[in-house]
Each structure stands twice: as structure tokens, then as C-alpha cells.
Symmetry: C2
Subunit: 157 residues, 2 copies
DNA sequence: CAATCCAGTTTCATTATGCAACCATTGGAG
DNA sequence: CTCCAATGGTTGCATAATGAAACTGGATTG
């Protein structure tokens, strides 16, 4: 087959994430949803995307458990799309993308918004990666290990 | 035109990041590069992707300043592709994607690797978002603010 | 200097994307 | 209740992107 390659069975968690949200529009749809949009028309006008594509994407996101389609909320008999826990879990990915642009974009002056701490109104710090014991880690301080086979009924001793 | 829509002029930093690395393969190429791969053939066999599209992606990544093509390193007259600072800056995005899969994937047992602290061999903590003063922030603790106009020659007073 | 490897490019078939037109319900106005 | 607009899609068609495989041309090996 010549279908676009899928990473569904891939053992790499990054590839698996991309399988679900790695296309052009999904992340932006999730961004809008995190901003409170829930209706088909809201997504469509705010993102300026074709309605057929939006329909396909929304279905895929629902299938992946990222959105859930719920029956109305403002009384009307229409549907709406709300984020699941899994969908809200995308937030750190959005922050990482945002911070990457803020740090490396060639024209940062074109970036319209900054993410701030609501309480103080001050910019948030860069995402931090820490060890179990709280040590701040750089990429070089990390490595990949094969996942332990796990899933024993009881402790092995 | 009916070209795939571009987010190049978009003011959203997330859209701008997607413009550079938002396609199916780029992130995986960067993942391999972070793992030390540098040669065309290495990327091609490790990712199992078609050579023509690898060629296109590598060019795009170079154009975006994420990879740089450098002349050899092992003596041979071939080229190689090495990450720039901007490219290495993608690391947190990969961690965020990985952690999202680890937390929400339907079949986490299929994930082959875990990211550990090299020193202790223990899993790294979830990425943390903190305020300037160090307070740990949840998504609800944050908001977007318009970017201040910035770029004054001197302090405004 | 022939055989092979490396790093692509070309060709062609298939798929995805995007625009525009169309259609079925829903919601309101009268 | 009737008509009309808005909502939330679907369908058709043209164009662009993707992928497999064959091809190319310089490097390297023997």
C-alpha cells in the first residue's frame, strides 16, 4: 500500500503521540479547545480551515479519545466537542512548542502573545525537567532505558 | 491556490512552530539526530522512510535552521547533517510528546523505552511549569497576554 | 578499472488537502 | 404553522503531498 505511513504499532512514544496529534490541524484544534471553543463553527471560523477537513479531524480526535462530543450545553439541540482528560493533557506539548518558538523563531516580534502566570501576570519560566530527587536535568543528563517488562501480579520477592 | 495552508505569518507561536516541525517526519528526524544519527543513510534505514521525502525534509530542516549540513567528520568525502542549537532546542517538545504518550496511551505496555536520569537510572519527573518566583503552575494558573510592544532604545523614563 | 555503496533524483500511482457548492436540521420571526 | 437564515455538516472536483521503485552519478573498495 502507498498509504501515508502510520506509526500506530511503533514502540516509540513520540511516534505514537504523532500518530494521534501529529498532523497540521489537530494541535491547533486542541489549542482552540483549550481556549474554550467547543462548536464546529467556532473552530471553523477561528482556524479558517475547510469544513470537510475540520469534520475529518474532529472525528479522528474523538476516535483517539482527545475530544468527546457532548449534547449541547447552551440549551440548543446542537452538539459540541469538549476535551477529555487526555486532550487537556496536551497542554504541556503546546507550552513546549510555544517556548521553542519564543526562543528560536527568526521573527519573535511577530509573536502576538505571551504565556503568563495568572496571579502575577509575569511570564512563566521555561519548562523544567527534573530527576525524581528534584535535580534539574539537561538533555545530556538523561538517557533512554528499555522499559522493564513490568506487570507482575505480586512483588517478585 | 490550493496549496497546503502555511502558518508562516501567523502570530501564534504554536502555529509557527508547527510550520517548521509540524509534519509527520521532521520530529522523528530530529529525534534520530538527537540520538546521534547524522548521515542520510542512517536516517533512511532507521526511520524506514522513502528517500525522496527524506531528501525533501532534510532540505526543509536545513532551511529552517534546525539542521546544518557539514562536510564529513569520519574522513569520507560525504556530507552529514548535524543539529543546530535551534534543533537541539526541540528536546523539550520531544519530552512533552513522550510523557503524553506515557500518561494517556491506550497501550502503554507497547512503549519500549523510558527516559531516565542518567545518574540514578530513575525515570524523570513530568515536565514542570513554574512561575518566575518558582511556584508550580497548572494550566488554569496561566493565561495569555498580548505581547508588549517592546523594542525601545532606552528605558521609557 | 570493475563492482559496490552512498546519496540522492525521477517517475508514476495513490492519498490527502482545500475550495466551493450543496443539503439536512435547528432556531427564530412573523 | 410557515418561511428563512444559521448551523453543521457532505459531496465533487482540482491540486498538492506522499511513497515505492527504478534510475543516476560520484565515492570507495577491491
Amino acid at each position: 500500500m502507498v498509504k501515508r505511513t502510520s506509526f500506530e504499532g511503533d514502540s516509540c512514544p513520540i511516534a505514537r503521540a504523532l500518530e494521534a496529534i501529529g498532523d497540521w490541524w489537530s494541535i491547533l484544534i486542541i489549542r482552540e479547545a483549550l481556549f474554550g471553543q467547543r462548536r464546529f463553527g467556532e473552530f471553523q471560523t477561528r482556524l479558517g480551515m475547510a469544513k470537510n477537513i475540520l469534520a475529518v479531524r474532529l472525528r479522528a480526535l474523538v476516535d483517539h479519545g482527545i475530544l468527546r462530543s457532548a449534547p449541547a450545553s447552551d440549551g440548543s439541540a446542537y452538539q459540541e466537542y469538549v476535551l477529555t482528560l487526555k486532550g487537556r493533557g496536551v497542554f504541556p506539548i503546546l507550552v513546549a512548542l510555544r517556548q521553542w518558538s519564543e526562543e528560536f523563531d527568526e521573527h519573535p516580534e511577530e509573536i502576538a502573545t505571551i504565556l503568563v502566570d495568572r496571579e502575577k501576570g509575569r511570564p512563566v519560566r521555561k519548562l523544567e525537567m527534573r530527576a525524581e530527587d528534584g535535580r534539574l536535568l539537561t538533555p545530556a543528563d538523561t538517557m533512554l532505558k528499555p522499559r522493564p517488562a513490568a506487570k507482575k501480579r505480586r512483588a517478585s520477592a
